[in-house]
Each structure stands twice: as structure tokens, then as C-alpha cells.
Symmetry: C2
Subunit: 82 residues, 2 copies
């Protein structure tokens, strides 16, 4: 029913992010989705990409273009100020 | 590394909820986690349980006692007013 999808988990190292990462990496089905983790605090050249995807806060998961904000760790604006 | 976990996805039938449900049911690894979906709009006797779990808004996913609010569909307070 679902082909191989691409999930990108954006975070900024905050405690809420680390907690959410456990779910994303621990429970997503690796047979259905490949997962990439992006730390916007260190990978700052990917902030523009996150913004373009529609991310307003981290942690956030983007699957096939759909954005899922999971709890609230930090606003993307604050991450940009970094 | 992770034993069988129990995930409960609480929603209230809102568009944001339905969208998030696709991820929860479509991408969670059924080998690691069993999933239950609770519609608080119809299963109103489970609102107290959701509140006790720490849910503030729906859609929300509770895995082994940890609450993950996914995007924002409706506040639990509004669901309670129903």
C-alpha cells in the first residue's frame, strides 16, 4: 500500500528533540521508510531547506513532503538566531 | 533493543488528526509496537484517560507513557466541551 518513503527528522539538540528522536528512530518501520536525521544546530546550511518544507518548530518530521511537528522544542526562528 | 510497545493514538476526527493518523498507522513498525486508535469525539468516556496521560491537544500519540503531540488539531479542552 505504501512504497518506500523518505522521512527527515529535523531537530536542534534540545531535550524535547532527543525524546522525539527516540520514537522516530525506534518505532518507524524501516521496511517502509528510510530515515535521515538533521541537526539544524550543526547543519546550519539546511535551515533554509527546513523552512521551505514548512517547518515552524523543532523537532519536526517530514515524510513525503508532509510536515509533522512533534511537541515543541524550539521555534525555527530561534534556531536561525542560533 | 526495544520490546513490544503499546501506542495509543488519540484524535477527534479533525483534518489534522486524520493526516497524522496516516503516519502513525502507516509508518510505525507493527513488529515493535501495537497501535490503538481512540476517537475522543465518539469515545468520550476515554477523555479522562487522555487527560491523565498528559494530553493537551489532539492528535496525540502516547507510547509507553510518553506523550507526543503531533501538530495541532484541537485542544483537549475543546474536545471536552464537545
Amino acid at each position: 500500500m505504501i512504497g518506500m518513503s523518505k522521512a527527515v527528522f529535523y531537530h536542534a539538540g534540545c531535550p524535547v528533540c532527543v525524546d522525539a528522536e527516540q520514537v522516530v528512530l525506534g518505532y518507524l518501520d524501516s521496511a517502509k521508510v528510510t530515515t535521515e536525521v538533521v541537526h539544524l544546530g550543526t547543519d546550519r546550511n539546511r535551515i533554509a531547506e527546513a523552512e521551505k518544507a514548512g517547518i515552524q518548530s523543532v523537532p519536526a518530521l517530514v515524510i513525503d513532503g508532509n510536515v509533522y511537528h512533534i511537541n515543541f522544542g524550539a521555534s525555527l526562528e530561534d534556531v536561525k538566531k542560533g
